[in-house]
């Protein structure tokens, strides 16, 4: 597995991935839907799959002393590592924003544990759609990405849309308990005990969903790739 991971990082990484990871700096933009930065990371991962495909990685890997299952698992682990790097960078940016950007984010979810939880859900959606879809053929990276992008954008619109709506409602004269709760405990920096608890639960749920979806995605991908003829 170590050797396979080394192959992924040394031969398959597309340079654009680093640029997309650097787009975590978008979290410094005031009033912006920060989950979009995670979509760019997914885009970077898609570029790596494309790069590997164009370089005949499947055939090269098939010649190495590894099974198809090991090759798929290593690629899934590579994806997880990239996503976790982004989550860690996001956490660091959120911590920085606690001090440097106290204003409420009017463009989506605030710098918070909720944001990280939503990012984990986004990556879970990407993994469960993209990986099994790609490994159904072993080469249709674009189709798989298109399918996953639909899922990702539905989630971004849904989650950030709710937070934008909660802000809008709070700024209006209408008082809706659900949106007030969101505004005070979810879409804010976790400065109160209740907000911290709610966001910690959200984070836990997001993490759980990410783990379950990724393991399931890897399992389905392995099963599907076994039937694929490497050409």
């Amino acid at each position: 597995m170590k050797a396979l991971l080394s192959k992924e990082f040394k031969l398959c990484v597309h340079p654009a991935l680093f640029i997309y990871l650097a787009l975590i700096l978008m979290l410094l933009i005031p009033n912006y839907p920060y989950l979009v930065s995670c979509f760019f990371v997914c885009n970077g991962i898609f570029f790596c799959f494309q790069q590997a495909r164009e370089n005949g990685d499947a055939m090269y890997t098939a010649m190495l002393p590894v099974s198809k299952a090991q090759a798929v698992k290593a690629r899934c682990l590579f994806v997880v590592i990239i996503e976790m790097i982004d989550v860690v960078l996001m956490a660091a940016m959120c911590a920085f924003a606690l001090v440097a950007m106290p204003e409420t984010n009017g463009g989506g979810t605030d710098h918070s544990l909720s944001l990280i939880a939503f990012a984990l859900v986004l990556f879970a959606i990407f993994n469960i759609i993209y990986l099994p879809s790609f490994y159904k053929t072993g080469y249709k990276a674009g189709t798989a990405f298109l399918k996953s992008a639909i899922g990702i954008w539905i989630w971004i619109i849904l989650s950030d849309g709710m937070m934008i709506a909660s802000n809008a409602v709070m700024e209006s004269s209408v008082d809706i308990a659900f949106f007030r709760y969101l505004h005070e405990n979810v879409d804010c920096m976790p400065k109160t005990a209740e907000a911290l608890t709610v966001q910690a639960i959200l984070f836990g749920a997001g993490l759980l969903l990410y783990v379950v979806c990724t393991l399931l995605a890897a399992k389905i991908s392995v099963k599907r790739y076994e039937k694929v003829s490497v050409a």
Binding site: L11, N55, M59, Y60, A62, M63, L64, P65, K227, S229
Partner: protein, 287 residues
């Protein structure tokens, strides 16, 4: 001792069937795997090594099931599918650095020796190598992890005669110690005349014959005769070509012995393959 045993290998594709392919490769020998384009040579090799999932049959390497012990068996097998055409923008050094991590038995001294012998510059990118050099790089990778069996799919196709001859010499040198074997697929039959000990001939996904090279050639004769003799011998000819002065064709050796009035000569591998492939095309060949 048999280093590789392929038994009843079966793979169904839409429009193509790899039909119960069976053959053995002996230790210390070169087995030529011949057949025309699309006969099933590459499909056989890919299915053997689980690049394509087989529908049936078994493949044993040194008595072990290759599919059940894929990782362990692949460590002892060097697979070269034509030239090295992967990661074309990467330097050879970068590719080797990754590749050698997969093999506990990687022999760096041997690799460096092969680089010098093949005149390969490790600082060059794959895209900067000629076709022949890419084949040599693929061979260097396969040999440096001390593979006991080299499976080479069309390694000489597209190479100039000098490079091909050079490679054939290398193949002979590889098996000299009696511990290495080569399964060498090609449609360039003249290459096999120079180096193969055994021949396996595949046609339309089915093995026609698998035997030692001398027996393979001894089983056939090239015959030629006058145009008026053609009708008499048509049924015993495996394949033939009619021309203004008569015909030339291929017969089984025992039929040729009984064929009075025909000129009989030893058959070379290329003629055997050409006339065997003409088997279904008597009429068009005769026109």
């Amino acid at each position: 001792m048999k280093i590789l045993q392929v038994q009843n290998l079966r793979k169904q594709y839409p429009g193509f069937l790899l039909n119960d392919v069976s053959f053995d490769v002996e230790e210390g020998c070169i087995m030529g795997f011949i057949g025309r384009n699309g006969a099933g040579k590459t499909t056989t090799i890919k299915t053997m090594l689980n690049l394509s999932h087989a529908d049936g049959g078994s493949v044993l390497f040194e008595g072990r099931d290759v599919w059940a012990n894929e990782t362990e068996c692949k460590k002892q097998i060097g697979l070269v599918l034509g030239e090295f055409s992967y990661y074309r923008r990467k330097k050879l050094n970068a590719i080797v650095d990754v590749t050698k991590r997969f093999y506990a038995d990687w022999d760096e001294t041997l690799y460096q020796t092969l680089l010098k012998r093949f005149s390969l510059d490790p600082e060059k990118k794959v895209s900067e190598l000629s076709q022949g050099m890419r084949v040599k790089f693929a061979l260097a990778l396969a040999l440096s992890h001390r593979a006991k069996l080299l499976i080479l799919d069309e390694p000489t196709s597209g190479l100039d005669p000098v490079s091909r001859d050079e490679l054939l010499e290398i193949f002979r040198a590889i098996i000299e110690d009696g511990e290495h074997s080569i399964l060498f697929s090609t449609h360039i039959i003249s290459d096999l005349e120079k180096c193969a000990d055994y021949i396996t001939y595949i046609k339309d996904g089915k093995i026609v014959v698998s035997t030692d090279a001398d027996s393979f050639k001894d089983a056939y004769r090239l015959v030629s005769g006058e145009a008026d003799q053609l009708e008499r011998f048509r049924s015993t000819l495996i394949g033939y070509r009619a021309h203004a002065f008569g015909f030339t064709g291929l017969m089984y050796a025992e039929d040729a012995e009984r064929a009075e009035g025909l000129k009989v000569a030893p058959a070379d591998m290329e003629s055997i393959m050409i006339y065997t492939e003409k088997e279904d095309g008597h009429e068009s060949a005769a026109q």
